[in-house]
Amino acid sequence: MTSLASESTAAGRFARHRTLLELTRGQRLRYGGAMLALWAGGLLTLGVPLVLVEPINRLAAGDVVPPRVLWLHGTAAVLITAGAGLLTYLRGRWAAQASERLVEGLRNRLHRKLHELPMSWHDRAETGDVVQRCTSDVETLRVFLAQQVVEIGHAALLLLTAAPILFLLDSTLAVTSIVVIPVILVFAVSFFGRIQKRFTEVDEAEGELTTAIQENLTGVRVVRAFGREEFELERFDACNDLFRARTERLLRLFAIYWSLSDVLCMTQMGLVLLHGVARVHAGLLTVGDLFAFIAFVGIFLWPVRHMGRVLADTGKALVSISRLEAVLDQPVEQDPELDQTLPATVRGELAFEDVTFAFDESTRAVDGISLTVPAGSSLALVGPPGSGKSTLVRLLGRFDDPDRGRITLDGIDLARLPRSWVRRQVGLAAQEPFLYSRTIAANLTYARRDAGADELERVARDAALHASIERFEKGYETLVGERGVTLSGGQRQRLSLARALLADRPILVLDDTLSAVDTRTEAEILAALERRRGRATTVVISHRLSSVVAADQIAVLDGGRVVQRGRHEELIGLDGPYQRLWQIQTALEDELDDDLQRTAGAEIAQGTPEGSVKP
């Protein structure tokens, strides 16, 4: 991933630390409070052993300690614990509120950003990768914000403020109490620093495994048809075992870490115990103080051991933030200063003037196309794949802007109009349309919220979809997608068409929308569209010439240029690609015609069946 390339540079690292800090903006007060509560809670916890020092010392000295005193100190210990508990709760509360609100903001920001990025970005981006960033990386940050932000510096702060107490009690033993701590700290930090790579390896292996399973399950028909179950199992076993092996290796490192860390911690506690007992024996320390020292070391050690984890999570958070920034810092679609008042009504006159556009340096997808489409008329675009038909449609919706030339709507350059406004003038029905996993009705009203049931039915009828919808148990309320019915390719296309018709916009674009529709249904739809003639300026892209013959104007594209233009009747008379295409497609029909004539004798006997679609 290119976004991760600059990770190791010092400047980049510093910049990301700053972004991490900036991320906390708006919640710093809560974070401050949480840190304070954590620190105060830690200090207060030290009070528990301290209140026990006196009774222990008096008992050690053989005093007759009245029960009242014992209960008093015991109660103090309970109260201090409860007080520290309250602070712990406040710390948890504030940290949770701060982090969750920050993450909520981040999620919303990402969602907004994704809708502001230009289509060219979306074309290049892999959906899976982007979703991964928006979910897993946000989660990594969330864990960091919720747990580690507050912990940063906690160990140091606690040690610094507690050390004076230790030194007050017994400066010699105080030194012994903290002597191993730096070693533990260095060990923890270096371990978690090193282990980072292993974590990534495990994640990668898990990713591969998930992909392998996913592919096998979605391709189950192919696997079965070729009888490749054994082959699939072998392939799966390799991924499955790799993930196992890497997890095992990671956990082995953890075994080493925690046991060594335990040895160090036990050494620290053992040193305090033995040195303390020796000092008690020498009369330099009271038993109560020794008790306090042992308890203190126990309290210190945890945050110190935890330090490695804090730093490891910080490292992960830094990586995640750079992955998120790769999305958040992308330039968005810019709308120029509006120097054009928005037209109140749109007639729908389109003009392409010397429009040129290239996705990359090497080839122009559209190369100097000029076309005029009078309002309410229709333009058909035909040509081989990659000839620039769909690119023109993209330019029309301002999903990209021409590198040269311009597209005008009612004489106004689209580039001078806001994108969202331009898009609201275009109703698009696509070849592989996107449907939301909601009901059919919801997918339709996506085009116009206020549309009534009768309108939905009308456009569904025009798109020859109404009958299919009626056949579903829940009709228009049928859920589409994984949890509902699976629509066929043709049904999806027709739904997309109905949606575009419902939008009822000045410009209607059919981008190979009827490719998966059977010919008879296509005829129905074309007849319905014919009835709507003049209502919108229509751009039709199709490989099937039956869809384009009726167009007011046909443009044959090749290599991003218009190679032929005219009405159907003109073009079929000219030697050129359209004619050849036409020949191929009609040759069959004519043979069919012959067949029909040859079988005409039978027709007389049978009569023409009712309901057939007449040419």
């Binding site: 020794l290 999903f399 349309p433 049978q606």
Partner: protein
Amino acid sequence: MTDEILDDEHSGAAARIDWGLWKRLLAYSKRYPRTLGIFVTAAIVVGAADTGIPLVTRGAIDAVTAAPPEIDTFELLWPYALAYAGVSLALAGGVFTFIRCAGILRPRIARDIRRDAYANLQRLSLRFYDRRPSGWLVARMTSDCERLSNILAWGVLDVVWGATVMSGIATAMLFLEWRLALAVLVFVPLLAWISLWFQRRILQSSRAVRGVNSRITAAYAEDLAGVATTMGFAREREQHADFAQLTERMAQHSIANALQAAVYLPVVLTIGSLALALALGLGGQHVAVGALSLGTLIAFMTYARQFFEPVQQVAARFAELLMAQAAAERILGLIDEVPEIGDSDEVRAILAAGEGRARPAGFAADGLPDRIGQIRFEHVSFHYDAGEPVLADFNLTVEPGQTIALVGETGGGKSTIAGLLCRFYEPTAGEILFDGVDYRQRGLAWLRSKLAIVLQTPHLFSGSVLDNVRYGRLDATEEDVRAALRLVGAQTFVDKLEKGLDTRVGEGGARLSTGQKQLISFARALVAEPEILILDEATSSVDTQTERAVQRALETVLHGRTSFVIAHRLSTVRSADRILVIGAGRILEQGNHQELLALRGRYHELYTGQSLVADGERKAAWEAVR
């Protein structure tokens, strides 16, 4: 029923633990008996060491308080130093061993459970898949397996360790001063009850968090896939508003979850300190009268606070078992699910008997002729779950080498016929016979090796073009692959790809267009050299010119092969030996192209609608061609 199976986010905790279920899962760890034995032993050692340290401290303190000052410090301390070092090393060694063992057990249990489920998934029929979205299955195979193996490995550890520590502490205290011990232990049931109460609630609310979280993920994925549509309809604002509702709910659930956890620990610690105060109050009086040593009192106070940890751990594991029971049921359900379609017992017996033995030429592994001659559908009916019949009393005889075209409206049952032929599904009534033998009496692997299918929505795997074509026949040479690609007219575009045959096609073939994917899956079918070829709208997304090329290739390919062609395009259909017009699960008409046209029925109706050109124009086209 389906909804119940799928609704995993909202099902709460189980009311009680189903031990039978967990015993079955635990059996997975018994595959590694040595590791498991060491693991449990190590957990006990660590628990014992944890209990032992306060005892060493007690001994040292008692020794020093009782010792006369003239005794040498070293003399006084060395037994305790030794004991301490011993306990420490046992602890560290134990920790190393149990993490190491857990590190072996956990990934292996996950791997083994996952493998069993995966192996069964390879056998389950398509009906099973029809009922479950693939994303749901993937989640079972990944996160559920991980979660269960985690619970099993670390759960065993925590329970064994926890039990050791608790009984160790209890024993030590009872041994040291039983009355004081009983007083302190009074708090244990309270601690356990509160822990369980909290843990269940925390897990429940974290389940709610997970539920919203998966909805957020789904929303990102869907909105991203539909971004052009959203922009096209300029509906960004509504989309953001819907999404913001989700993130708001997420924040609320997460905060609620965090607050529960934030309350829990202080409460437990405070209860621990109550036990400590009791130990001090009561124990102190004993010390004062000389009935108890100071070291013992300190040990009691340490134990009082130490007790909460194992209780908390065990309660957490217990709650987790309740919460994960649904996941356990689901994964075992996957492993137990009996395939509806598979080799019958008789076939399996024959296959087993013939294993390793050379079989006579011309015969398949199931002892019957290898080549397929006549195919017959006899009174075949079929319906999906509780649905209306898709196919009703369907009869068809296909002679070897014939090309059968299936036409008719979407949903009429054409693809079902293909699915039945592949034995993806089996007839609910009637039978399908190969040379007079019901195909359920034949080997499934044999059948699948004989046929190849090309689907309308082609599925490619994420390897290279070469890998994908070779999927049809694993030992196909690169030349075979090229020949197949050439035959379907895909050679040109494959050559233009940056690495030719070795170009990776991306997940699901994402880097190719639908038409290109169709051609590659077509080549994949051809390379398999099937005796029966099924084309289910195989070239619907291919452009006209390529379609022409494919058309020419088909003539070669279909020659001498029994084939079933489902198509809308007349050009694909008309040269078939026999055309069946399928509607509402029945054959409405059949015959060859000429005969069907002459019938002036459905077929005629379907195909005269293909041209919208007026007669005059059609003639003009003729003239232009001339």
